[in-house]
Symmetry: C2
Subunit: 514 residues, 2 copies
Amino acid sequence: MKEKLFDLKKDNAKRIYIKGSLPGVEVGMKEIELQNGEWIVLYDTSGVYAEEGYEPDIEKGLPKLRERWTKERIERDGGVKTQLWYAKNGIVTPEMEYVAIRESQGITDEAERITPETVRKEIAEGRAILPGNRNHPEAEPMIIGRKFLVKINANIGNSALGSGIAEEVEKALWAVKWGADTVMDLSTGKDIHQTREAILRNTPVPVGTVPIYQALEKVNGVVEDLSWESFRETLLEQCEQGVDYFTIHAGILREHLPHALGRVTGIVSRGGSILAKWMEHHHKENFLYTHFEEICEIIRQYDAAFSLGDGLRPGSLADANDAAQFGELKTLGELARIARKHDVQVIIEGPGHVPMNKIRENMDLQLQYCDEAPFYTLGPLVADIGAGYDHITSAIGGAMIAWYGTAMLCYVTTKEHLALPNRDDVREGVVTYKLAAHAADVAKGHPGAARRDLAMSRARYDFRWRDQFNLSLDSERARKFHLEMIRNSDADYCGMCGPHFCAMRITKSIKKQD
Amino acid sequence: MKEKLFDLKKDNAKRIYIKGSLPGVEVGMKEIELQNGEWIVLYDTSGVYAEEGYEPDIEKGLPKLRERWTKERIERDGGVKTQLWYAKNGIVTPEMEYVAIRESQGITDEAERITPETVRKEIAEGRAILPGNRNHPEAEPMIIGRKFLVKINANIGNSALGSGIAEEVEKALWAVKWGADTVMDLSTGKDIHQTREAILRNTPVPVGTVPIYQALEKVNGVVEDLSWESFRETLLEQCEQGVDYFTIHAGILREHLPHALGRVTGIVSRGGSILAKWMEHHHKENFLYTHFEEICEIIRQYDAAFSLGDGLRPGSLADANDAAQFGELKTLGELARIARKHDVQVIIEGPGHVPMNKIRENMDLQLQYCDEAPFYTLGPLVADIGAGYDHITSAIGGAMIAWYGTAMLCYVTTKEHLALPNRDDVREGVVTYKLAAHAADVAKGHPGAARRDLAMSRARYDFRWRDQFNLSLDSERARKFHLEMIRNSDADYCGMCGPHFCAMRITKSIKKQD
């Protein structure tokens, strides 16, 4: 860390902590002091990195924030119980209180605040999850569900063609700095175990993986050699390390394949294609499906969560909402019910490439088939021809589906379909998705969401430029663009229109004379 | 022009012409030859610049494509008649046949082709406009209406703080290269007349302006000194030069001001604020409203068109869909009816900043109040906190409102709210908006729109990388991103997943063994 990645002072902000009633509940937030003497408190994903004076040590890793809660519970309750178990049994955990406080940022009306009881209820009924592997105590508690703020995930990870451990850790921190609520390590290249270890020990948000990738790497990339036993071993290895949620492609079945293989773009999920090939070769059902209850039992022991993978998501507009996709979605719903029976939390992954007019159906059927389990979508991309701009193609669909009820969006970067994203692509992708998620929060009427927009708009009308920068999702870029042109943070106009053609300046001159 | 801006060969494409039945109708298109021996013909905005061997000469300007039609008509019909007059009288002009052919690109089913009669009918009923000042014969005919492809406009123009004539012409050509269907010259700085002249003579698409800007510049920026007479003179000057459509803020009235001045961000339209100030100072009604029929008569003489400006568009989510905005919209509807009575074509401008859940109401009321006149919106931006990313904030709203029925989108660049866009910002903004417009065309079910996506998806599944680049909205960026990582256009994988984890490659290996 040569440069100081997390510097809230630049935004005239600091990290504050709000105490809860349960022991050790102290929720970190970002408090921005405005030029007009007001202040605003924002949800913040950067964890202890944002504390003044905190010196990151990548070798040592982050402080183990949740360790105390987890250990106490295991001792008291005679073993691991999941957040879902506690919720079902009417118990509010410290994590639940933590997220209730966190989600209430920006809510001024006391009656509208998210209560710990609301959190507990949403988890108990399977409409939200609070992912947190007991071996990843570095992560701050967060919740994914459609009653709460829309979350975003940033995929990182190397491929056989590039990137190293330091670069991937840097991408993870970069993602968290710009607001990623979770990070998925999708490494398929070298040093998969070590890369993940470095990411887990240094990331203050939940981390997800797709364990079939490493399982395949262990059999030298020969799909036919995959087996339940080797997969199980990989899953245990990753559970032990502390992975918070796992993409498991247990819903793709032999019966779905004829539908999928006739498509314009076939199977575009890596996990889906691997399992399809394994099934066709062995003439057997997907081993993740046939061993699903065993997987539940493993995951339950760590209080990790499922992200049931959509191996048959459409990779083109032409394949959207087809029999393969919705057939698998129905199976995912069955699996979600089984997981919950085992007290394991579940979210469901969704598409993909879908034209705007077919997005709503995805959301409606997902809620119906999966008993309202949280939906976690990749975009969807609303066109196929946006290569180089697919962060935007997908942010359009992402904002819409999040408004309709999707709980978490998986970002897509400018490099999608083309290459591995670098650090700058991660930033662009994360900020784009924060924007899409925020737009959905506002449209859904989340009680605190529009407060930041209001503060921003007031700052605009007052020409408080520093506040405008600091309230922007990417304060550094906003500051840079403005100052490149007019080199003055106190001007009552901007470089776009200049002083004589500033509409707000002219409007104010009217009000003065009245 | 040191660099060759328009080089279709890079995309394995060429400019072709499709002949119509009326004299001189030859519609330029871009034909891409694909690696599999197929070809695809696309709508192309770059005009004669894209012809092989064409040598641009900025001093001389473009060939006067439409001059013959215009002159012949004036002689034959004893004066200028507008496209709306011809349409109302059942006459199909060469321009109408031209746009019918142009709009039918990509449509394979003969029964679904857009006919010249459909074009005539849509214009006659005011649901579409075919803007083309008789003194801008350089522009290729194009149509704006919700039965047709969604169009996009790129704003260019200097401000008092920067840019020169050569730079603005370059931005215009750059906009057209990336697909802008119209260009608006919003210059408010130096050399307004000369900048516009250079743009008009060298731009193959319709050009719009906001004449109040130059009128204000002529009275040295003193709003109080504006008058109907000086505005009229400016309008005539711009009509003579060949401006194709004019933003006229005739709908902002004294009765709307109390609503507007109490808003969070007041009036954010430059034209709107100027007229509000003028009205308040003189205690008189907006002179553009009181002289509206005279404006119609001037514009009619050139067959230019109205873009009725929304001086009271909301500049923040908090102000969206308020009494000021919808009050003005109603007045714009009245004015549209008056303009049509004078045989002048009209489009209506729309917001602005609007949360996703309030977008639909904008479209519905616009159709209702304005008798289905084409809607032309700026975004809308679905959040206020995206500074530096407002091309995206607004593309989300833009795609949605275009799907709902908006006929043309005005792009917003990354520099919105901060600074004047440069050439690269124009490119990013135009491509982003082409994407939003295209997504809407697909969602609306335009018969030819999804054909390009299908060709792209097939190219993806076949690993025809050159075709993927050439079919992308920004072929240069797609090519660059891919080749930076793997330096090979013939690989059957990409740098994102690498060879062993390419889902499509694995899927194909399944199909082969079957």
